[in-house]
């Protein structure tokens, strides 16, 4: 199997140009999908039987939570690739993804918290999902903190890669233990953060938002990745021609 095309792809000048090309192809569809999803979720979807229009927060909360975990997994995979095969671009992907993932985690927490107020009367509940998201946020913070604490870029890349892998191995353990801990004090009732039984006309805006968020992440990733490539690049020749244009 001839892998030269992969190495060519991962070479900084190519990646830089391809990322520039791809960004609008991710960005504009993302914009469209999110607008459609917002319209579907806010206007078209029928109000929930129990929660009325309050349930519409789901259309922000659920996709954000999903993205927070998806991005973490992507980041850890990229970091592992960078560590094992020593591909700088993969480290760039990991570095670029962490802040975006953290923002989605924050969004999931904030919307989950706000959603809880009309549903349970308090601004915060130690619900299994919210608690898991909070711990995930701590994991993101740790990664970002470690990266900014190390001055040498290569050491920073590799150290955060190890931490990301350790984190991703721990994630299922954390999820399981938090879920278990949460069921202890509530007996049979498991709070699902007021997730209503989803009917078809409630579901499709959710899927659209999810697709939109994913494309959005990819679009932002392209731009951040370009910044990372520029920062890491030592060989000046292609930079000169590229940036002069």
């Amino acid at each position: 199997m001839d892998w030269t095309w992969l190495h060519k792809l991962a070479s900084p000048p190519h990646a830089y140009r391809i990322a520039a090309l791809l960004a609008p192809w991710f960005g504009w569809p993302a914009f469209l999908l999110i607008v459609v999803g917002l319209f579907g979720g806010l206007v078209l979807a029928p109000a929930d039987y129990q929660q009325g229009d309050g349930f519409r927060i789901l259309y922000v909360h659920a996709p954000s939570a999903w993205m927070s975990m998806f991005i973490y997994a992507t980041m850890a995979t990229a970091a592992a690739i960078g560590l094992i095969w020593r591909i700088k671009l993969a480290h760039g992907v990991a570095a670029a993804s962490a802040p975006v993932g953290a923002w989605f985690t924050f969004l999931a927490l904030a919307t989950g918290s706000i959603w809880g107020k009309p549903m349970w009367g308090t601004w915060w509940v130690w619900d299994a999902r919210l608690t898991s998201e909070l711990i995930l946020l701590f994991l993101y913070f740790g990664l970002i903190a470690l990266r900014t604490s190390i001055e040498d870029r290569e050491r920073a890349d590799r150290a955060t890669a190890v931490l990301a892998i350790v984190g991703v191995v721990n994630l299922p353990i954390i999820h399981y233990s938090v879920y278990w801990w949460n069921t202890l004090h509530q007996g049979a009732t498991i709070t699902k953060l007021g997730k209503p039984s989803i009917s078809g006309d409630m579901l499709w805006p959710l899927l659209v938002m999810l697709a939109g968020f994913t494309l959005y992440y990819l679009a932002v990733l392209m731009t951040r990745l370009r910044a990372e490539i520029l920062r890491r690049e030592r060989d000046a020749s292609w930079l000169r021609t590229e940036l002069a244009a």
């Binding site: 711990i135 701590f138 740790g142 903190a145 190890v162 931490l163 191995v169 938090v178």
Partner: protein, 228 residues
Amino acid sequence: MTARTGAIDAVWLMYRRDLVLAFRHWDQLAQPVVFFAMVTTLFPLALSPELGELRQLAGGALWVAALLAALLGLEFLFRADHADGTLEQLLLSGQPLTLLSIAKGVAHWTICGLPLVLVSPLLAISLGVPAEALRTVMLSLALGTGILSALGAIGAALTLGLRRGSVLLSLLVLPLAMPALIFGARGIDMAILGDSARGPLLLLASMLVLALTLAPFAVAAALRISAE
């Protein structure tokens, strides 16, 4: 003409050396234990002198205190060796770094974790824990501090030589330690109520086994990354 040291011999030598070095500084050894006792004392002061009330929180209080005390002791794991260049020698020695990491980790547990476990019954009694539950307390903390030593070694290796490394270390290790905290504290609570704590303890044990199996690789990788 020097005979090559076998890997197992190297591990034992490493372990003994760390212990000998640690015991040269008694006062440093005592710090985590004293910290453990002090933090445990904070709970009655902050909450209530009533043993009946304290008993309900004892599992959590003991575990939080032990967790913080263990974090305190993690700093010493690699710092001295890094400072005087021993670590570089270890990396160059050709001995399998994963095994040496295990040696250092177990040594660290013997120095930091084990004392906490030995002192725990006294502190548990001070929080109103009944005598029947003391065995679970010690077992839970023994497994827990073991997990902490393993996870903490990863963090210590990653933050080697960094400014404000100890704060960063805590930031990195605490989220990873939360599952152990959940099961450890819960196990003690169950024992206090008179129930069998088998479930949580077995889960702790399996977490420890997982940590012992995987952490050495992460520690070795992190040491290489940090020291080069």
